[in-house]
């Protein structure tokens, strides 16, 4: 197709039209559409639907005893006869294909030949009562042949050569446990290393992080009379769940319907696990002919769904003595656990962002993701970026120290600005919106950086103080991971109320409300007129998955397209009624009038009613497909993302050097998310992301023992921040608008997490005057760093 698609032109035209306008709804505090029902406790989450079905059956997953073993045999006879059990489902009972892998088909729903991690399911028990199901599950006998358990990714590859080491393969059917290997090759790194005035290197480690969303995974499947199945599922990606369920049941896509009610948190953790949970429920429903309920206990949730990839990375930076970055080298190993999940994509994002938001003349980056027998890793807010940011930003501080430069000054010397090329050779222009420098300056000013950086360095005594900074950029949407499109249907009902239908889901971030605000602004109708329909694969259009910080920027663009076309038609109808030009029409529902002559006016309800009589359709399907991303597999050069969100975080901490306990006092977050659409959502996201990242920085790590079993599968031993842990959080905003985005907006779901842990790490390093290279920064790790410092 040689012509520019119409939707690009529409989005850009709307951007131009609105860029200097005062907004009525966009960018203002507005109450979400669902906050009242949630505040009353009336909002229904998946498990809340269970009591509507009187003949419900319960699905219990029997999980493996070993993290790595061959299955020799399975005997379900005793369990099958247990009173109250309807049936036991094993791999051989699956009518379709036994696989729920999100990207590649490497993940059986029910293990058949072997088990690869402690969460692997060997059988499903379907019973009248969940406790009966659990009791029967204990009667299932599986004969295992245990295999050596791999829990250390460096037992699979060597960190410095990235060559695979001999070991008992987790995925023997693939012949190798290296899933993917991405690279950047730019410039001449060896020359830069030779000519550099300073070089710093280090090895950095980050842990498995658990999403710990408050609503555990759940699905209820209802068998329909025509042989199809409806599944109510707690998921971020209904269309991917539909695909997985159809595959497992051997049905066509149109025979599977996925409906998404209120979802209690996702953070990336509900991108692919719902494939498994919905498929389990659907299988049970189809095989028993009754509605089936599959829900995870908290322990099952922790051991049974994806985690954030742990990283171990070696980095080397080279710079001139004036601070100019010459080269970056990096070997990054991501532990993917037992299955691929989003594993083909996470290391790609990590690779793209591996050198940070800086101009880098030369770079050699190699990122691999390996299989182990740990719980599998997948998507988690940031998707590989937080891991590399931790390494990069620590390196930048080490460089600053080596050069005798202030960390902010060093960064300002190298950050990307308009006109600069990224490490992939992508030229950043005004169109992208590059607000990084402004974000840095805002954070620096608000936090009193220079004064405190100096003053804190002079503190002695048992409580030290530190201030640290970290910068990041975050490519919006999915880049080269797939076809990047979104869609929204806007329907103006006959009484003037508006319905929004989209497959984009909401699990706390409320980005669908942003879409309503965009439509409200363009149509001229207050947000209170809008109802957002639940995502439903039979009724709402496929908008792509709700991931990658793409809902506002992609769903918003689709909304712009739909709203624009509707507005055009409404203007025509209003002009027909009022007699002035369509361009002259002002809609401020409930009023509609001519801007040149406000006495000429009518009602919104009348314009809508007239449209019906005139045969002017008031529903519109908005589709938007992102400009193609470009990426050369050998060199990592191209244009990986449509634009980037930028940010600067400054953290102010206290460290009790006797106990090692770190307390964060303040976090300043300055984000460039382009035009802020949903102000309330943006602020909450900034606060929430900072809190979750504080957990990542100081307390969260999922531990496996050497048998591959999770040592802390509950919320008292896997520590998450509670209200007492939360510092003051000061969100600051920079609006460097993305001209090809809806009203100039950029994505924010993940950026709000990305660099906070790195900023805290840099602050702690400042306070204790020691090199922090591992997360989480627990009191014991601080103690060890201080002890080792004393020795040297």
């Amino acid at each position: 197709m040689s012509t520019v698609p119409e939707y690009y032109k529409i989005v850009e035209e709307v951007f131009e039209k609105y860029k200097d306008k005062e907004f009525l709804f966009v960018g203002r505090y507005t109450q979400r559409w669902d906050s009242v029902e949630k505040i009353k406790g009336r909002a229904l989450f998946t498990a809340d639907f269970a009591r509507l079905y009187s003949n419900l059956v319960y699905v219990h997953s029997v999980r493996t005893k070993y993290a790595h073993a061959l299955i020799k045999s399975i005997d379900v006879s005793e369990a099958s006869g247990y009173p109250g059990v309807l049936r036991i489902i094993t791999a051989k009972d699956i009518p379709g294909i036994n696989d729920v892998g999100y990207v590649i088909p490497d993940q059986p729903l029910i293990a058949d030949r072997k088990v690869r991690y402690v969460g692997d399911i060997v059988a499903l028990v379907v019973a009248e009562n969940p406790l009966v199901a659990r009791e029967a599950g204990e009667l299932i006998n599986v004969e295992y042949e245990p295999l050596p358990v791999i829990t250390n990714p460096l037992d699979v590859v060597d960190l410095m050569t990235l060559k695979e080491k001999p070991h008992t393969l987790v995925h023997d059917e693939r012949g190798s446990d290296i899933l993917v290997h991405y690279k950047i090759r730019r410039g001449d790194v060896e020359k830069a290393m030779r000519e550099a005035d300073v070089r710093v290197e280090g090895v950095y480690k980050t842990p498995f992080q658990e999403h710990a969303y408050m609503e555990p995974e759940a699905s209820i499947a209802i068998p329909e009379p025509d042989g199809s199945v409806t599944v109510i599922a707690s998921t971020q990606c209904p269309f991917d769940v539909r695909k997985a369920v159809a595959k497992v049941l051997g049905l066509t896509l149109n025979k599977v319907r996925i409906v998404v009610p209120a979802v209690g948190g996702g953070f990336g953790g509900k991108e692919d696990v719902a494939n498994e949970v919905a498929a389990k429920a659907a299988l049970a429903a189809v095989l028993t002919g009754r509605p089936a309920f599959a829900v995870h206990t908290r322990e099952e949730s922790i051991i049974g769904h994806s985690k954030r990839h742990p990283m171990v990375a070696w980095y080397r930076h080279a710079a001139k003595k004036d601070g100019t970055l010459l080269a970056v080298e990096a070997n990054v190993v991501l532990d993917g656990g037992a299955y691929a999940s989003l594993g083909p994509f996470v290391p790609w994002r990590a690779t793209v962002h591996a050198t940070g938001p800086y101009k880098v003349q030369s770079a050699r980056v190699d990122v691999v993701r390996v299989y182990t027998n740990n719980v599998y890793a997948g998507a988690f807010r940031g998707f590989g970026n937080p891991q590399v940011i931790f390494a990069v930003e620590r390196q930048m501080d080490l460089l600053a120290e080596e050069l005798g430069m202030d960390p902010v000054e060093l960064r300002l010397k190298n950050i990307l600005r308009v006109g600069d090329e990224t490490v992939h050779g992508q030229k950043l222009t005004e169109e992208h919106g590059v607000g990084l420098e402004e974000a840095v300056m805002k954070a620096v000013e608000a936090s009193n950086w220079f004064e405190l950086r100096r003053r804190y360095s002079e503190i002695t005594g048992p409580v030290r103080k530190g201030i640290g900074i970290a910068l990041f950029y975050h490519g919006n949407s999915i880049g080269v991971e797939g076809a990047d499109y979104s869609s929204v249907t806007l329907i103006i009902n006959r009484d003037g109320s508006v319905s929004i239908r989209t497959g984009l889901t909401e699990f706390g971030q409320g980005s669908t409300w942003g879409l309503a605000l965009i439509a409200a602004e363009i149509l001229g109708v207050p947000p209170s007129y809008f109802k957002i329909e639940n995502p439903d694969t039979s009724a709402t259009p496929d908008a792509g998955p709700t991931v990658a910080s793409r809902a506002t920027v992609m769903g918003g663009a689709a909304t712009v397209v739909a709203a624009y076309k509707l507005r055009k038609r409404l203007n025509e109808v209003a002009s027909h009624i009022l007699g002035c030009d369509p361009e002259d029409i002002v809609i401020r529902a409930p009023d509609v009038y001519c801007s040149s002559d406000p006495k000429r006016r009518t009602r919104w309800a009348d314009v809508v009613e007239q449209s019906f009589w005139l045969g002017v359709p008031l529903q519109e399907f908005g589709y938007y497909r992102a400009p193609r991303a470009l990426w050369d597999e050998e060199t990592g050069q191209g244009a990986p993302y449509i634009t980037y969100t930028f940010g600067a975080i400054i953290a102010d901490v206290d460290v009790d050097i006797e106990t090692g306990l770190v307390k964060v006092n303040k976090i300043f977050t300055a984000y460039d998310i382009g035009k802020v659409i949903n102000r309330m959502g943006a602020e909450l996201n900034a606060e929430g992301g900072a809190i979750q990242a504080l957990g990542y920085a100081l307390m969260e790590e999922l531990i496996h023992d050497k048998e591959g079993r999770v040592s802390n599968p509950n919320l008292s031993t896997y520590y998450v921040p509670t209200i007492k842990d939360v510092p003051e959080i000061i969100p600051l905003w920079v609006e460097a608008k993305y001209k090809k985005g809806p009203l100039g907006a950029k994505g924010f779901g993940e950026p709000s997490f990305n660099a906070v842990a790195a900023a805290i790490a840099n602050a702690v390093a400042h306070a204790i005057r020691a090199n922090v290279t591992e997360l989480p920064i627990t009191p014991e790790r601080v103690y060890m760093l201080l002890k080792n410092k004393q020795k040297t």
Binding site: V132, E658, T659, L661, L698, D705, Y719, P721, K724, D725
Partner: protein
């Protein structure tokens, strides 16, 4: 079997008789905050629960009687925390322990008897009661026994209490006016946590001199709370100064404390932290006795 029956006794006698009727497989439940979690993990199985909650009217009290502080086994941690009788500085450690005990809604139902019976290294209230040299009263159909708390624990989750006995009361001597106590624990977060290490200290001072001191840790090497007897001996009679405390904590405590490494923390850090927290606790208890 994951499902179970429940027996709700009319009174204490009825409860004790239930053991005879149901035999093994009947397990008493107080607040349930520990027991039901163990059951959920599959660590404990039972055929029926003896619901002690109906005995609250008999067994929840805090009173001063015959020079003893008597606390009914079914007194909740919340009630301990808000007790008027235990408001003054002589009981400050008990308030520390109950204030930082888990979370507000756990405190509403967790009981003193339950915490003692759990025999877990991180039984906060049990650690503090050890510093008061408390005793445990248990009752069965055969009668009543009194067991000093310091001899009550055998191993993690094992006590000398027989399966057909119920803890009815915990008591200790009313402390003199020149006494106070403190309880400190530390975890990797500011919000509530179990703690890597927990220490309780009780002290009586004559001026600045330590007339009597009792120190209890979550663990001294075995998997249940114990007293640091050697350290106590070394401190008794000394002036409570930073220098003295520092020296004793550094030199004596490591002689009697063994620590284990597990996925949460290393033995080295636990020992080190025990020293840091003990020092802080001793200096704080001194301040409290002096009324600062």
């Amino acid at each position: 079997m994951f499902r179970f029956d429940v027996y709700v006794p009319k009174d204490l006698r009825d409860a004790l008789e239930a053991f005879k009727i149901y035999g093994e497989g009947l397990v008493p439940i107080a607040g349930g905050t520990d027991l039901l979690v163990l059951y959920r993990q599959g660590i404990i199985r039972f055929k029926a629960l003896l619901d002690l909650w109906s005995l609250r009217s008999e067994l929840s009290y805090i009173k001063l009687e015959d020079g003893l502080v008597k606390i009914g086994a079914l007194t909740t941690i919340d009630e301990l925390n808000s007790s008027e009788l235990l408001k003054d500085k002589r009981f400050a450690g008990l308030r520390d322990a109950s204030k930082t005990f888990a979370s507000p809604f756990i405190r509403s139902v967790a009981t003193v008897g339950g915490n003692v019976g759990a025999a877990h290294p991180l039984s906060d209230v049990a650690i503090t009661l050890l510093t008061y040299d408390a005793s445990v009263k248990v009752r069965s159909l055969e009668g009543e026994r009194v067991i000093p708390l310091r001899s009550f624990f055998l191993d993690k989750r094992k006590t000398v209490k027989r399966p057909d006995e119920l803890i009815t009361e915990v008591f200790f001597s009313e402390p003199p006016d020149n006494a106070s106590s403190v309880f400190i624990k530390l975890d990797r977060k500011v919000g509530h946590g179990m703690g890597y290490v927990a220490v309780g200290v009780y002290a009586e001072l004559d001026g600045d001199v330590i007339k009597n001191v009792r120190i209890a840790f979550d663990s001294m090497g075995r998997a249940f709370p114990e007293r640091a007897l050697m350290t106590e001996d070394a401190l008794r009679g000394m002036e409570l100064s930073e220098r003295n405390v520092d020296r004793v904590v550094r030199e004596v405590l490591p002689k009697e404390m063994g620590r284990i490494s597990d996925y949460r923390a290393s033995a080295e850090y636990r020992l080190y932290l025990s020293q840091v927290l003990l020092k802080r606790a001793l200096l704080e208890v001194g301040r409290r006795v002096r009324g600062e």
